[in-house]
Amino acid sequence: MTEAVRLAVDGIGKTFERRGKPPVEALRDIRMTIREGEFVSIVGASGSGKSTLLRIIDGLIAPSAGVVRVDGRPVSKPGRDRAMVFQQDSLLPWKTVAENVAYGLTLAKVPKAEAFATAQKFIDIAGLKGFEQHYPHQLSGGMRQRVNVARALAVDPEILLLDEPFAALDAQTREIMQTELLSIWQATGKTVLLITHQIDEAVFLSDRVIVFSARPGTIRREIPVPLPRPRDLELKRSAEFVSLVDTIWKLIEAEVRAGLKEE
């Protein structure tokens, strides 16, 4: 763990101004650093500002306070050093799998042949071979999410930002996707920041889990995950794993309950 700091989040705060309504403070003074090649997850109650933080890191929205740095450079807009997989389905329905995976490259004006060759590589990695000419509505939810991940990987970002990428999948598919994500991560050496509601998913995948408190989102605790790698699904039954999940669950349980009452 001597690698350089890849992503630094320095005192980020975000308050949404709303017309005719009181402003919402979504994030307050978030500070974290992620090293090159590290896999970090954020867990927290619904509405604790996780997606907002990811959008700020991606450069889609500006923070109200603080600064995000990638390799020391402040972030002000989206860039090719970061790519995001969104919480909502965001594939272009009129484009094929191949065209969707190549989308980021074609926007960056990469020549067509090269863009599609690169796309093919990630289609293969994501296990979508043979589906290149399918349209998103012809795929299962799990396959669509793989296309999303492949599309983000195809632009060769340094940092992969994943916003609950597996939330819409059934439990079995999700577990398979988790192991696939791990092997892609191991093969590509990307730095990954993942948001999830599933505590076991966070523990299974990550080097560190960051626990958010509810609105305004602040970092409640950072929990290192000292479990050996490579990991397989067996690990989820080990005592160490279970106790880590339990610790994190206790940290957010109160806030989740409070959140439920609010709704």
Binding site: L60, S90, W94
Partner: protein, 261 residues
């Protein structure tokens, strides 16, 4: 047997679609035939066979060709121009909040005025030639295109735009790769309505002022109580409407296959 026929007709294939059109046309013909055997006043209704004879006669003496070319030329030109203008206005409204807020109410007021009733006025202003038909058809056909273009452009899924922005897309790239393709099927559905309206527009314009065209032929045939010819030309108009509707529906489905499934 009946069940299998039903299943066949329900299919989403071209043969099934053609069969559906054939069956409904056939049903209309049968009902028509039966009714015309009950209603024997030939000024009110003539049976299908007589209408076919009248149509054949029109084709033989060249009147059909004169009328068809007058109507088709006028309606197609004005329709194409209304689609272009409609899309342009829709784009302008969708890209400017202020324009939409100020222009929107004016447009919807205009849209609810029965412009078709102004046909005599247009003919008084613009004469009996092409110009009056052109303007009248555009005025009746343009609104559905404007409305659906604006609505389609505004309807774009926010996550799709956000994904494009995340890949550093420029506003122009967002328009060409997300907003416009998303709006296209909406626009085509407006175009489909515009075609139907354009046909009504052209016939009314031809009623009031012209010396050729389906509208003119219908009016002059009805003045001589030639019901067979009236119905013959009405059928021609119906066929044009059906053709457009089938074509644009197919285009819509082709552009947005994900909406059907």
């Amino acid at each position: 047997m009946a069940r299998r026929l039903f299943e066949f007709l329900e299919q989403d294939t071209r043969t099934a679609a053609a069969a559906r059109v054939l069956i409904s046309t056939g049903a209309v013909l049968v009902v028509w035939q039966i009714v015309s055997m009950i209603v024997t006043n030939r000024l009110l209704l003539v049976p299908p066979a007589e209408v076919a004879v009248a149509l054949a006669h029109e084709v033989a003496d060249g009147a059909m060709w004169t009328n068809a070319s007058a109507t088709v030329t006028a309606v197609v030109t004005s329709f194409v121009v209304s689609v272009v203008i409609g899309v342009a206005i829709g784009l302008a409204l969708a890209s400017s909040r202020i324009l939409s807020l100020t222009g929107g109410p004016v447009l919807s007021a205009l849209n609810s005025v029965p412009i078709i009733a102004l046909a005599p006025l247009f003919i008084a202003w613009l004469g009996l030639g092409f110009a009056s038909k052109f303007v009248l058809v555009i005025l009746v056909a343009v609104f559905p295109v404007v409305v659906t273009t604006e609505a389609g452009l505004r309807a774009t899924d926010k996550p799709l735009i956000e994904a494009a922005r995340s890949f550093n897309a420029t506003p122009w790239q967002i328009f060409t790769t997300v907003t416009f393709p998303y709006a296209l099927p909406f626009i085509v559905s407006g175009v489909r309505v515009a075609w139907a309206r354009a046909l009504v527009g052209i016939v009314v314009a031809e009623f009031f002022g012209s010396f050729a065209g389906f509208g003119y032929a219908i009016l002059s045939a009805s003045q001589t109580f030639d019901t067979a010819r009236v119905l013959g030309y009405v059928i021609m108009l119906g066929a044009m409407g059906l053709l457009g509707s089938v074509l644009f529906a197919a285009l819509e489905q082709r552009l947005a296959p994900w909406r059907q499934e």
